[in-house]
């Protein structure tokens, strides 16, 4: 009996350790998930370094982030992500305690408390017309003891109180064609100069009293040559401009209200002129720079407004703003890239010949050129000036240099991810193991004793901390080899800067990064854009020795017919294998389901002229492709015209582009939506690599329903033309939303449903035989989510076993594209509370595990919602059988359970996309959410039914077994003794 109970006990123990974990306990944060915070490419930085207190820097970025960073470590003190259309125009620090931001084209001015980032005030500025936005925070300009901020935006000059954001005075500049270029406030005076161009050949100067906005003087002078581009202020009453040809430099001085021009042809300054120049504005007194093609020329303006070239260089040069270091002295920095090093020079504005500082810093080649530099000074122990420089590199990273060293660096390129794919890690072989074994038995035992204490909740706070750090430091998860469960992978991400990163899923560290040359600005390609990432080679089976590689697709410029660029990168080493500059454009990329003998996947690139190009360009690939020639179909969506077209291949290219791998295409079908009533706003298909476990669905009363599973289904949502705007712009009567299910091979519309009184934006996800979409219901003024499930009726009669046995089924009957598929759809709608940014669905290796929807909400959180809640078979009162099947009673809205937030108490600021990747373990899926922040976690939509959780306490199990064994032997000896006594009696 003891043995029996022991077994039962063991089994019970085993199951009790698998107790349902609905979500996360607070101490499990960081075990399988990681969260990284980024900023984006810095476009302005302002230092805040007082003699006492923390050294900090305020930055604004291209991702509309304003943040305060610690200058010692580069950590974020606070950060705010503004709205996507709330672009930051300028930042500054006022009164030493407020961060002032000007955003939304100069119409919103906000002040943030410097230490904690709390918004202090917000002002809305309006003006008569659109214009350049300029923010100026004069240090010692006061109106009634009130420090002011000067803003020029939307054709109006405003003086705003620093303390509460009140507009103190305003002055309109309504001149028809006046384009204000600069607002200059000479230090120490109460004057403001507003300079600009009017009707392309007039130079206008306004002198304004800063205390009350009164116009003191207005002068204008004509210059027949016209003006081009920006102006650079060189002195407080002198600016430099270019004439309309870009060949003559104009020094415009407006001292005492008299405007005088002085022309200097660039050819007089430099002998070999390289065509039109461009002014690089700088705030350094007496110094400015121009750029002609790749040549940068730094020019000094002497007191008599004479220009002289002080430097001419072929290197890309960045110049910092002026930094006042002492009475009347200004320092500025120049930085250049030369090979593996960057050269930093700090000079005084009036003394070009001497360097205050000259340093060379070794810099990773994959950071590219220096794009921006900001400098700050400190006083060394020997009372001399030291300088620190904050630099922004081509790959959008941010670095702090001090004393010739990189103090810290931030990979802020990761804030703007364009596309993500995954790659397996190398297989663990003998000798390449990097596992760290526990030092000795004692350590191991100690660790397990601690864990045991934790389980029995006897641990002291120190013990808990020790356990937590032990769990987090688990070296297993960041190993560089493939694991049994497939949790360890590489996330390959392509950023907007054209840099490729490989992140380890274990802890998110960067394994390698590579700046793609094909996506860098060059003479051939001025504005390269990264488009997509594809798995090029995924070795398994017979090509195990090859390293996997990815295909990066980019194009040159935003136009649709810009030539494409391909790049192939090895995902183990992070080296570029090869790159191709294409002659054709890339409109669409179709990864084909065929691979060649080296496991290279065939890709079909469709260009803007509707030619198809096959890659790789090998004879083998062509022969595989020709075999499958007639089975390749695709569709294209023209949202502007409201047309969806289906295409197939026709034959080899004819004409001048004749090429072995070029094919002509033909149009098969087209669906034209009535342009006056419907506008395409969303199209979604199934993921190409999705696995469906079973086609049949057994429902409550032993009935079988067959899912209509087709890879060629397309979900299209259209809205009424009026309803394509924002919420609140239409009434429910004049807006509707139509959802279609279209077969992309035949062009047949399988299902169409209209939601009256609804409008976009529509976010949808398609998986197996269902599609879920999110839209706005104007009548209820709430968001709604609908589900459509599509079932195959033609096979519904096959459920009789006898028919199958007797061969009376229709499984072998031919399927024709011309016959209408016999499908039925079921659908249902529910209210959903939040706005949605993106929706994804979990995916697992075999597709057995039930699905969860991953909803990226407007609050930048990711909510996991079980698909069961979006089941069209839900009814208000489900029958007993339906309840047993797991059908939830129908409610009008979808539940939001806080514990099912995948991101728990974190935010993935600026959320843009959610990617799910199956792990090898069927129950588990890997989730990667990216935006300005990155977040990764493992999810088990139906709990981990196929493995023990990390919490499983092996020590407790061992101890229980030992205790039981001891108990067995004890009772055995006792019974022996008793039996002996019995026998003696």
């Amino acid at each position: 009996m003891a043995i029996g109970s022991f077994l039962i006990l063991f089994i019970l123990f085993f199951f009790s350790s698998l107790n349902p974990i609905l979500s996360l306990y607070e101490d499990q944060v960081g075990l399988v998930d990681w969260h990284q915070q980024y900023l984006g490419k810095v476009k302005q930085a302002v230092f805040h370094t007082h003699k006492t207190g923390r050294k900090r820097v305020v930055v604004s970025t291209e991702e509309n982030v304003v943040a305060l960073l610690d200058l010692r470590q580069g950590e974020i003190f606070w950060r705010h992500v503004l709205g996507s259309n709330d672009v930051i125009d300028g930042i500054d620090i006022a009164l030493g305690k407020y961060v002032i931001t000007l955003s939304s084209g100069g119409s919103i001015l906000r002040a943030w408390n410097l230490p904690d980032g709390q918004m202090v005030w917000e002002s809305s500025l309006r003006g008569p017309k659109h214009s350049k936005s300029l923010l100026l925070v004069p240090t010692n300009l006061k109106i009634e003891k009130d420090n002011i901020v000067i803003i020029f935006s939307n054709g109006r000059l405003n003086a705003v109180s620093c303390i509460d954001g009140e507009v103190l005075w305003e002055k309109d500049f309504e001149g028809e064609s006046l384009e204000v270029q600069q607002v200059i406030q000479p230090p120490g005076s109460n004057l403001i100069y507003v300079v600009g161009f009017a009707s392309s050949s007039l130079f206008e100067m306004y002198q304004i009293n800063a205390l009350n906005g009164e116009l003191l003087k207005h002068e204008s002078a004509a210059f027949s040559g016209g003006f081009l581009g920006e102006v650079s202020p060189v002195f407080s009453e002198t600016v430099v401009a270019l004439d309309s040809t870009g060949l003559i430099l104009l020094t415009v001085s407006f001292q005492n209200g008299m405007i005088s021009f002085q022309q200097t042809p660039i050819s007089n300054l430099v002998k070999d002129s390289f065509g039109p120049a461009k002014i690089i504005p700088s705030s350094v007194t007496g110094i400015f720079a121009i750029k002609m093609n790749a040549v940068t020329i730094v020019i000094r303006v002497t007191d008599e407004n004479k220009l002289e070239v002080v430097e001419k260089t072929n290197h890309e040069t960045s110049i910092s703003d002026a930094l006042p270091i002492s009475e009347g002295q200004q320092a500025f920095a120049l930085v250049q890239r030369a090979g593996p090093e960057i050269h930093l020079r700090v000079k005084l504005a009036h003394n070009w010949d001497d360097n205050l500082l000259k340093e060379s810093v070794k810099m990773d080649q994959h950071r590219g050129l220096v794009h921006k530099i900001y400098i700050n000074n400190y006083i060394r122990a020997d009372k001399s000036y030291g300088f620190r420089a904050l630099i922004v590199m081509e790959d959008h990273s941010l670095l702090l240099l001090q004393q010739g060293e990189i103090v810290w660096s931030r990979e802020d390129g990761l804030a703007s991810i364009i596309d993500v794919t995954t790659s397996e890690l190398p297989v663990e072989r003998d000798g390449v193991s990097v596992a760290k074994v526990e030092h000795n038995l004692f350590e191991w035992l100690k660790g397990h004793m601690l864990k045991l204490k934790g389980t029995l909740m006897l641990a002291s706070p120190q013990d808990i901390a020790a356990i937590q750090s032990m769990r987090l430091k688990n070296s297993e998860k960041s190993k560089m080899t493939r694991d049994h469960n497939g949790f360890r992978k590489l996330l390959i991400v392509l950023t907007r800067a054209g840099k490729l990163f490989a992140l380890h899923t274990g802890d998110g560290h960067i394994v390698w990064s590579y700046l793609l040359q094909s996506l860098q600005k060059s003479k051939v390609c001025q504005h390269p854009i990264g488009l997509n990432l594809y798995k090029w080679q995924v070795p398994h089976h017979h090509a195990m020795d090859e390293n996997p590689s990815v295909l990066v697709i980019g194009k040159c410029g935003p136009s649709s017919d810009a030539p494409g660029a391909l790049s192939f990168v090895d995902t183990y080493t992070g080296k570029e294998l090869s790159s191709l500059s294409l002659v054709h454009s890339v409109a669409l990329v179709i990864p084909l389901p065929y691979t060649d003998s080296t496991e290279q996947r065939l890709h079909l690139l469709i260009d803007a002229d509707k030619h198809a190009h096959l890659y790789p360009k090998t004879p083998e690939a062509i022969s595989i492709f020709e075999r499958e020639f007639s089975n390749i179909y695709w569709y294209s969506v023209e949202d502007d015209n409201g047309i969806i077209k289906g295409h197939a291949l026709r034959g080899k290219c004819t004409g001048e582009v004749a090429d072995e791998v070029c094919f002509d295409t033909r149009e098969l079908w087209s669906i034209v939506f009535p342009s006056e009533s419907e506008k395409i706003i969303a199209t979604v298909t199934r993921k190409l690599n999705e696995v469906v476990h079973t086609q049949a669905k057994v429902i409550a009363d032993q009935e079988v329903m067959y899912k209509y599973i087709s890879r060629n289904l397309l979900f299209v949502a259209t809205v009424a033309l009026k309803g394509s705007g924002e919420i609140g712009s239409v009434t429910p009567e004049e807006s509707w939303l139509v959802a279609y299910l279209i077969d992309t091979v035949t062009g047949r519309i399988l299902h169409r449903v209209t939601h009256h009184g609804s409008q976009g934006p529509v976010h949808a996800v398609f998986s197996e035989n269902w599609v879920v979409y999110h839209y706005f219901n104007l009548k209820a003024h709430r968001y709604e989510m609908s589900v459509i499930e599509i079932y195959d009726q033609s096979r519904a009669d096959n459920k009789d076993v006898w028919k199958l046995v007797l061969g009376k089924h229709n499984l072998t009957s031919p399927i024709s594209l011309y016959s209408r598929p016999d499908v039925i759809t079921k659908s249902q709608s529910y209210f959903f509370t939040h706005s949605v940014k993106t929706i994804a669905v979990t995916s697992t290796t075999k597709g057995i595990t039930s699905k969860q929807l991953l909803i990226g909400t407007i609050g930048d959180q990711v909510l996991a919602l079980e698909k069961r809640f979006l089941d069209p078979r839900r009814t208000v009162n489900p029958t007993q059988a339906e309840k047993e099947e797991g059908i939830i009673p129908l409610t009008d809205s979808l539940p939001i359970i806080p514990q099912s937030y995948v991101t728990h108490a974190l935010r993935v600021e600026g959320l843009r996309g959610i990617i799910t990747v199956p792990a090898k373990l069927e129950s588990t899926t890997l989730v990667f959410a990216h935006g300005v922040d990155l977040f990764f976690t493992q999810l088990a939509p139906s709990r981990t039914y196929d493995s023990l959780t990390d919490d499983f306490n092996y020590a407790l199990l061992l101890i229980t077994i030992v205790a039981l064994m001891a108990a067995i032997f004890l009772t055995w000896t006792l019974s022996e003794r008793k039996e002996l006594q019995e026998n003696w009696r």
Binding site: S5, G83, Q118, E166, L168, I727, S835, P898
Partner: protein, 264 residues
């Protein structure tokens, strides 16, 4: 990893940085109070000047703020006008987010959390932040029906339907969309607190006993101590018969299974 710290391995850098953030936030808590003081003073000042382009809390509020700054978020009872018309077709929506103190004090009460609250109009078309006193405003909003959402970690806010009418500006028409409750003024309060983590049950004897393990042990103990008692009360004759019966049926006894058990 977000950054690599100088002279430290990546791992150390990471944990170190987390600590730094913690220190930073606790410092912020202290500074918030002083900030509130300043803010209240500004309001007074602006009143004196009579400038009124932006709607602000009235001076009664600022007096309260100056008096009881730490509780400032809670004591504000007077309402602010919710709309002010701007130019011809653009209106301002002003409102307030109020987080009652009863909520959020337990669990992970993050200091400075008011600064992490975002208010979103029409699904992110406009995003604004809260002033220290919880007020927010959207500028240049066209007339129509709009949706305001509040995103605050730790709280569940219902979206609010707001009607901005061109005919009678200044009229408040707001309703929570979750429960269709009308709001007389645009003061948004969380419907409930959100707890993102499961709570670990504290250790207790009862929970241990109730667990399968505990039950099993209890059962075993009961068998071990009660069975002999039962056996004692049995008639020795009957017991012997039962034992013999068991042996004849060949039920494996413990002693025969264990090594050395075969001796008997």
């Amino acid at each position: 990893m977000a950054f690599s710290c100088k002279n430290s391995s990546k791992f150390n850098g990471f944990s170190g940085c987390i600590k730094m953030v913690m220190v930073g936030t606790s410092a912020i808590m202290m500074q918030r109070r002083t900030l509130a003081m300043e803010a209240s003073l500004c309001v007074k000042k602006s009143k004196k000047k009579g400038a009124d382009s932006v709607t602000r809390p009235n001076s009664q509020i600022s007096a309260a703020m100056a008096a009881v700054t730490p509780l400032l978020l809670l004591l504000l009872l007077s309402s602010a006008p919710s709309f002010s018309s701007g130019s011809r077709n653009a209106y301002n929506i002003n409102g307030r987010v109020k987080i009652p103190q009863g909520l959020g004090t337990k669990g992970y009460a993050l200091p400075g959390r008011m600064s992490n609250v975002k208010v979103l109009l029409n699904g992110g078309q406009n995003i604004t932040f809260l002033r220290p006193d919880g007020y927010f405003s959207f500028h240049n909003i066209p007339a129509g029906t709009h949706l305001i959402e509040v995103s605050a970690i730790g709280y569940f806010f219902s979206p609010v339907r707001v009607d901005v009418s061109a005919r009678n500006p200044g009229k408040v028409q707001a309703a929570l969309t979750e429960n269709r409750k009308g709001l007389s003024e645009l003061v948004l309060e969380p419907l409930r607190e959100e707890q993102y983590y499961e709570i670990r049950e504290p250790f207790s004897i009862m929970s241990l006993l109730k667990s399968p393990m505990g039950l099993m042990v209890g059962f075993m103990l009961a068998v071990a101590f009660l069975m002999p008692k039962l056996v004692e009360n049995m008639d020795p004759e009957e017991m012997r018969r039962a034992q013999e019966e068991m042996r004849s049926q060949g039920v494996p006894s413990l002693s025969s299974l264990l090594p050395g058990g075969a001796r008997n």
